[in-house]
């Protein structure tokens, strides 16, 4: 957790976007380790592969298209700092009324979770409850997620390819 804070400060203080990308990749790996400590191996795997792997590559490819240094602001303003402090304070204040970490008798542990845990193998034959919840009990949600990925991919492809076609047309016209 201390390392997470260190990396965050480093990301903020860096001006070169290349090192920011690499640092955020390190941040993702640290976050994956935190998730492993919390026994969420599936999420940790996703974080390591998506956060540290693919998104780093995509960000580097983006840097290839744009400039690699951040534009220096004319003067630092206080409003964003104040705003983030207020929002952060509100969130911290909100967590006061949450039950202590790891309590077993909270609503999320007593509502549907026991049913999933006890009936999963009998109903779906799949020992990994994460998988059975994800693609069976909550199949609609995962269908929505897949559609979101599909939509996002199509959108980015249309944006990048569409612009390129216009550039080519311009070039042809000039010739």
């Amino acid at each position: 957790m201390t390392l997470l804070a260190v990396v965050t400060v480093a990301v903020i203080s860096q001006r070169g976007l290349f090192s920011v990308v690499i640092l955020s990749s390190i941040y993702s790996f640290l976050m994956a380790s935190v998730l492993i400590v919390l026994d969420a191996v599936d999420v940790a795997m996703t974080e390591a592969s998506v956060g540290a792997g693919v998104s780093t590559v995509l960000l580097l490819a983006t840097l290839n298209l744009t400039k690699t240094t951040e534009i220096r602001r004319p003067r630092p303003s206080l409003l964003p700092l104040l705003l983030s402090l207020v929002v952060g304070g509100l969130i911290a204040w909100g967590t006061r009324v949450l039950p202590p970490f790891g309590t077993a008798d909270t609503p999320i542990h007593t509502h549907v979770a026991p049913r999933y845990l006890t009936r999963s193998i009998a109903e779906t034959g799949v020992p990994n409850v994460v998988t059975s919840v994800l693609s069976d009990y909550r199949g609609y949600d995962t269908l929505g997620e897949t559609t979101v990925i599909f939509t996002a991919g199509i959108g980015v492809m249309l944006l990048l390819r569409g612009f390129r076609r216009r550039d080519e047309e311009k070039r042809e016209r000039r010739e």
């Binding site: 191996v41 592969s49 069976d136 897949t146």
Partner: protein, 138 residues
């Protein structure tokens, strides 16, 4: 493009293991951590690593852009199609019980098919995004 011998040989050595691990994550997702999403990203990561080391042209011989881009909607269709089969066989949408004679087997099949759909869409999207970004830069 590929000047670094260590990089090329290293990539060649590690690539089969990456793809094998992706398959393991996909098909062992019922028993251990992982599933379609993670496996899709790992598959895409392997192709992206190949493209970085050996150049985009050779990567597109392995995973042609047209195929990759068709995988994106195909995965959603596999997923929704699995749900629709349940609908046609007289159950609710995305109810896998009717896919096999035994409801438990039906659920296993349903989860397998659905995860395969997720794998197709995710890996297709990731590789297609990478292609789009890199081709834009040229």
């Amino acid at each position: 493009m590929s000047l670094d011998v260590i990089l090329r040989v290293g990539t060649k050595v590690i690539l089969p293991f990456i793809q094998l691990f992706a398959l393991y994550v996909q098909f062992h997702g019922d028993y251990g951590p992982g599933g379609g999403f993670q496996a899709g990203v790992i598959t895409a990561g392997g192709v992206i690593l190949f493209a970085i080391t050996f150049g985009l042209r050779r990567a597109q011989q392995i995973a042609p852009r047209a195929v990759v881009e068709r995988m994106v909607p195909l995965g959603v269709l596999i997923y929704a199609g699995t749900g629709a089969i349940g609908l046609l066989l007289g159950a609710n949408f995305l109810d896998y019980s009717v896919l096999a004679h035994d409801p438990v087997h039906g659920h296993e099949w349903g989860i397998f098919l659905v995860e395969f759909g997720v794998l197709t869409t995710v890996s297709g999207t990731m590789i297609a995004l990478f292609y789009a970004f890199v081709e834009r830069g040229r």
